[in-house]
């Protein structure tokens, strides 16, 4: 394991002087909050890549349909929604064909929900590594989410197909789509960091996650438009960061005008707060992972 990069510059240059006596690393009990160790994480980017690669390989080994699952999951959900909410409940959909309307929301939603459960479970699932070898622990939840990004891209292709089918063209708003993808990533990482760290101590998290995602799905405008809410409540609704993501997707791809700046700004602020606090909490709990897991 290489660790020089994680240390302040003067220490990393220890080899230069005649007194070669500065340690490259000091191991001691840490107190209070730790730094995030981002340079070290960057140093281990290849490991991150291998974790993602492993997860993908293993996930689709011995499956008959392979990566087609990434497409089937949102399509099947979309069909159910279209029948029950679109047809039977006559849910409004901001003038967009209902299947497209719900699918555009399901794409980032499933990325979030799958990433959340994978990320929350990432430490416990890799406990055999935590107790046997050192690497930046943040690599585990992050790689769990990145693994979901591949499924996300596949389902995004499905979305493109659906848009072509319904004859919805692209606009220059597409340029901002990556920003909303990033927002989805930040949101799921924030929650996953919290849950992963808590899961090490309290396995209750495992039971909580399915319930949490289900609850959260109904609190997010996937089957219904957020335009059902009057202002200012619609903006306040952005306190759920997935609202910003979903409405952002519809805004960028389908031309729906329900994602004005304030709502997305609020969502972004909440998501970033979750991620930053989650990362620090994770780092703080990290020192006991190997002893407790």
């Amino acid at each position: 394991m290489e660790i020089e990069d994680a240390l302040p510059a003067p220490v990393a240059d220890a080899g230069a002087g005649p007194h070669h006596h500065l340690p490259t690393l000091r191991i001691q009990p840490s107190r209070g909050w730790s730094s995030l160790g981002l340079p070290e994480l960057w140093h281990h980017r290849e490991l991150l890549y291998f974790f993602v690669w492993r997860d993908l390989k293993v996930r689709y080994k011995q499956t008959a349909l392979g990566a087609a699952w990434a497409l089937l999951q949102p399509l099947a959900t979309m069909l159910v929604f279209s029948v029950f909410f679109g047809r039977l409940a006559k849910m409004p959909s901001d003038g967009i064909p209902y299947p497209l309307f719900s699918y555009a929301a399901l794409v980032p939603w499933l990325f979030f929900a799958n990433g959340l459960s994978q990320g929350a479970n990432s430490l416990v699932a890799n406990s055999h590594l935590l107790t046997k070898v050192y690497f930046p622990r943040l690599a585990l939840p992050i790689s769990a989410l990145l693994g979901g990004a591949v499924d996300f891209l596949v389902s995004l292709i499905g979305l493109a197909g659906l848009m072509a089918y319904f004859g919805v063209g692209l606009s220059s708003r597409l340029v901002l789509l990556p920003a909303f993808i990033l927002l989805a990533f930040v949101t799921s990482l924030g929650i996953a960091l919290w849950l992963a760290a808590i899961n090490v101590q309290f396995r209750d998290v495992r039971h909580t996650v399915p319930f949490l995602t289900q609850f959260w799905m109904f609190a997010t405008p996937i089957a219904y438009p957020s335009s059902l809410l009057p202002e200012p409540w619609r903006t306040v609704y952005g306190i759920n960061p997935m609202v910003g993501v979903v409405e952002g997707f519809r805004w960028a791809l389908l031309g729906v005008d329900t994602a004005p700046g304030p709502m997305v700004a609020l969502s972004s602020a909440v998501a970033i707060t979750l991620m930053v606090t989650g990362a620090f909490y994770f780092r703080r709990m990290e020192r006991t992972f190997a002893d407790v897991v």
Partner: protein, 437 residues
């Protein structure tokens, strides 16, 4: 003085056993209930003038005060009985867990091998696992690519390179795992007893590879119970006892002092309190003694005399069949034998609670000269649950004789081998000398 690679100052590590167990099995609800009832419990304890340290929050010092220097290029063996803190020390130095106090300075890139096959995934092929495990152990992708052929060659698995490792035999698995690990090249390498696996031939190959590594100028810290390997590979050894450095110096000196019983081994051990005695819920070890035929406890035994391994234990729960047994090891770390209690009185019979003493007698003229270490164990049968398993818990010396009535006969030189029984020899003689010429 050459440069320092690792400097440890007062390293200590405590575990909250109670807290640990609590967290392991604990749920959020229990923890919340605990939190709410804590003030009441504490108040009650104060009223009763009890200690705050409940059995639930017992503290275990896995490492108490370890200070030492290891210089660059040194190969250091870390020895000591089980529970002395070796593995904890290694886990701290490899940054898996943090010390509770003290510090260690590491000068150089550090890598660790605490198990064989770290990061292996059973569903992935051998080829894929080489990359995965290599990356997890700290190798760069380019480095793995460069060494790939060498690794495959070392492991001798080229035919199965694209087979998932779940279909490997355990020997193949171990070979591949070690091959990846052996090609790791940090400046400081920490190794935990990984050589205790695989067949003898492969173990030898691993030891040779380790020696290469050691002579390559890298710093190696090597935890092992294999005293022969430690003496052979390591220049220096550090003996840990009860979480402290009990002895350090040249590997030969430390190993022999340890085996001679200065620090580690005596001919008897006793546990006065049943609560702190080793064992599990059905039975607890109370004493182990090396007995001579005359009945005395004996550190040194004449090679011609029988010697008894006496295991004294309490059975706390009635109704279980028990199998007391022991293993003998010589000072080279070679297992000589294992012996099970065959006493017909208790064999296949559930035992009532109480105190038992089981003694196994090793005949005279059987063991070779030298130090013998004894592992003592008691197994509950059906279901088989290990109740007691204490490694190297006692030891004794087998002392030879030149009187001519032992297996050495009239030979006065070295007698090698793990055992030295007297065999019956026969000789056939014919007066007719073959004179063909």
């Amino acid at each position: 003085m050459s440069e320092i690679a690792i400097r440890a100052e007062g390293l200590a590590k405590q575990y909250h056993i109670g807290a640990l167990q609590n967290a392991r099995s604990g749920t959020f609800r229990e923890s919340l209930v605990d939190l709410c009832t804590a003030p009441v419990r504490h108040a009650r304890r104060v009223l009763r003038r009890e200690s705050f340290r409940t059995p639930k929050d017992e503290i275990l010092w896995a490492l108490k005060d370890a200070s030492f220097d290891i210089r660059r290029g040194e190969v250091v063996g870390l020895i000591g009985r089980n529970g002395a803190g070796k593995s904890t020390l290694l886990r701290i130095l490899s940054r898996i867990t943090e010390p509770s106090s003290g510090f260690a300075d590491i000068y150089g890139r550090i890598g660790s091998l605490l198990e064989v096959g770290t990061g292996f995934h059973p569903e992935l092929t051998g080829r894929e696992n080489i990359y995965l495990s290599g990356a997890i152990l700290g190798m760069r992708k380019a480095e793995i690519q460069q060494k790939f052929d060498e690794i495959v060659d070392f492991a001798q698995i080229d035919r199965f390179l694209d087979t998932p490792v779940k279909h490997y035999s355990s020997g193949m698995y171990v070979r591949l795992a070690f091959a990846v690990a052996a090609h790791l090249e940090p400046e400081i390498l920490l190794i935990d007893e990984v050589l205790a696996v695989g067949d003898a031939r492969f173990q030898k190959k691993c030891l040779n590879k380790m020696e290469d590594v050691a002579h390559g100028g890298r710093t190696v810290v090597f935890v092992s119970h294999n005293m022969a390997a430690v003496s052979r590979i390591c220049g220096r050894a550090i003996l840990l006892d009860d979480g402290r450095v009990a002895n350090e110096g040249s590997a030969h000196e430390v190993v022999s002092a340890y085996l001679m019983g200065d620090e580690g081994t005596t001919a008897f051990r006793e546990w006065p309190h049943v609560d702190s005695a080793p064992g599990a819920d059905i039975c607890r070890l109370r004493a182990v003694r090396i007995r001579s035929r005359e009945g005395g406890v004996s550190e040194a035994v004449d090679i011609r005399q029988p010697v008894g391994v006496e295991i004294e234990y309490d059975v706390l729960k009635s109704g279980h069949q028990l199998l007391p047994h022991f293993y003998l090891w010589n000072e080279e770390g070679i297992q000589i034998l294992g012996s099970n209690d065959l006493d017909p009185k208790w064999r296949r019979r559930p035992r009532p609670a109480g105190r038992y003493i089981s003694t196994g007698w090793i005949p005279g003229n059987f063991l070779n000269e030298g130090t013998i270490l004894v592992d003592v164990a008691v197994l509950a049968i059906d279901p088989a649950i290990v109740q007691i398993y204490e490694r190297s818990i006692v030891g004794f010396q087998v002392v030879g004789s030149l009187d001519g009535d032992t297996a050495r006969g009239d030979w006065a030189g070295a007698m090698t081998g793990a055992v030295r029984p007297i065999f019956e020899w026969t000789t056939q003689h014919s007066a007719k000398v073959a004179t063909t010429a």
